[in-house]
Symmetry: C2
Subunit: 322 residues, 2 copies
């Protein structure tokens, strides 16, 4: 089996590639080739016995999209995208990468025709939803993005469903929760603090908390996110019918509950490293974000997230503190 | 005031242009210029004292879109589109006209910048919804199109909301019900019979009914549709917030109720002209269509449809049987 991944140099992409390489198979089929593309050349995963083709490519370029699918990969993980903050700062770039890039990829698949109908797993986002919403967002709540990123993801969900309905590809859109605990350095993303207040104290470093302790959000670990993508790639999708976008399960907790989980994992000393520095801008952004999902469809289809924030911290420690 | 209309040669476009010409003003401002474009040169409305520029143009062409907005019309009615059946038969044409055409228009407005922020009224459709849905579709039901046309309209709704949120234009999307009674000849659109079974018997001609009498659907007259567009062009939209697409009110009736209204209007002799010829294809298509809406937001904003199917027949007789 040949697997193509866009956005393969990103955090989730690298973890997914490592997992595919380690498993060596997907859905019982040996993976003989991994094609990894991103705007920078992705690092090939270690210890993979099959062939790896890693290259820099801009899939919003029709030629690059055609080249990426020319060998007819059976499974496509479409992770490429400009993140929320960047799509908001640079409208044209967000439209080009997030909307036109996705469409160019879908079109490249469609234009092959000839019975080629790959499974295409698209990483959407809970940013397709924006306030006001109910306490818990069900599977039939409407798309109400409040960012250009969320609008672009939602538009691609619609195209993905239509390309699927018409038989051009076999698509599924996975709305990822906030992926926490992100490894690496603190960054300036508005959501960064959700990870920072766990990751940094676990290393004995201080971290800034810019919002109130009662802020609630919907989280899953990077490991769970990789699990969602693999499950989406192998699942029988006929049960989904025409509705090909799924909100993923996750752990809905307040910041206070995150902190108590940190205390259970690493004690009062770790918790003492969190510095409260309220930031009005971040408070306002975060107030528009979803807090909780009832991901009944995804759960019924076997998608699994952690059960508690303690599990999320445990996954982080196991995966990153080797 | 300068008003631009795309799709001005269509049935609704011609009626809207005639109404604008007759009124001579919009929201208390005299209309000094009407720019009418379509793929064929639209007929200028009669008895209009202002200037009319009518031309054939393809707004999916960036240059044509730029030319259309170069004089900075204050209000844009964006009616242009490939209809449902055609967008389903010709995927590329539907994408080009319905999605790329709308985006080219929005982009042309954005690229003027410089504080230019016209009111843009976009005709969306209840085709953004597809079965299964609740008996009555509320304002927070998700977008579930089952046609390429509906998918394209839904994607444009998302772009319209984002262009508006970012201040590039002042947009509102109007989800039109089935517009009934359509004037003119019977056509092959799957929805044609809703009009045919009224219009033809009123003229003493026979009409074919391809579905069961208990089929329920959501209707508004062409006159009501024009009223929606005018109201959308003049309304204070700040109350809408970021959610810029609105399902319009209408009359939800079964075919049997339509027929009883016809009987009240024109007697048993007219009703006897309806021939039942079940058509499995049309039955199946219509089974996926919305039946009823609770258009609470639109009603609260003052959008008004007919109160009964008798009113819809009366509007047809008054407007078309002169």
């Amino acid at each position: 089996m040949h697997v193509l991944m866009t956005g393969a140099a990103g955090m989730i992409g690298r973890k997914l590639a490592a997992r595919l390489a380690a498993d060596g198979a997907l859905n019982g089929h040996a993976i003989d080739k991994l094609t990894l593309i991103d705007v920078v050349t992705p690092q090939p995963p270690e210890s993979f016995s099959g062939k790896v083709a890693a290259s820099a490519a801009d899939i919003a370029d029709a030629g690059a999209a055609r080249a990426a699918v020319a060998e007819r990969p059976g499974v496509i993980f479409h992770l490429a995208g400009v993140v929320s903050g960047e799509a908001e700062l640079d409208f044209e770039k967000g439209m080009r990468v997030n909307l036109d890039g996705s469409r160019a990829l879908f079109e490249a698949v469609r234009q092959i025709g000839d019975g080629y109908r790959p499974r295409l797993v698209f990483t959407s986002s809970i940013a397709v939803f924006g306030a006001p919403f109910p306490q818990s967002i069900g599977d039939e709540f409407h798309l109400t993005p409040l960012t250009s990123y969320g609008s672009q993801k939602a538009a691609v969900e619609l195209l993905l469903a239509d390309y699927t309905r018409r038989g051009f590809l076999d698509g599924v859109g996975i709305r990822l929760p906030s992926v926490v605990v992100r490894p690496g350095k603190p960054n300036k993303a508005a959501s960064g603090f959700f990870s920072n207040i766990i990751r940094e104290p676990l290393k004995g470093e201080s971290a800034v908390l810019p919002v109130d302790d009662d802020v609630r959000h919907h989280h899953a670990s990077p490991r769970a996110a990789v699990g969602f993508l693999l499950h989406a790639a192998t699942l029988d999708l006929t049960k989904l019918g025409a509705r090909r976008a799924l909100s993923m399960p996750g752990v809905s907790v307040t910041v206070a509950e995150q902190i108590e989980a940190l205390r259970r994992a690493a004690g009062d000393k770790a918790v003492a490293l969190i510095r409260r520095e309220p930031d009005e801008t971040i408070r306002r952004i975060v107030a528009g974000w979803p807090r909780q999902f009832e991901a009944k469809r995804a759960e019924a289809l076997g998608f699994k997230a952690e059960q508690s924030f303690d599990d999320i911290i445990r996954a982080h420690v196991e995966d990153e503190h080797v």
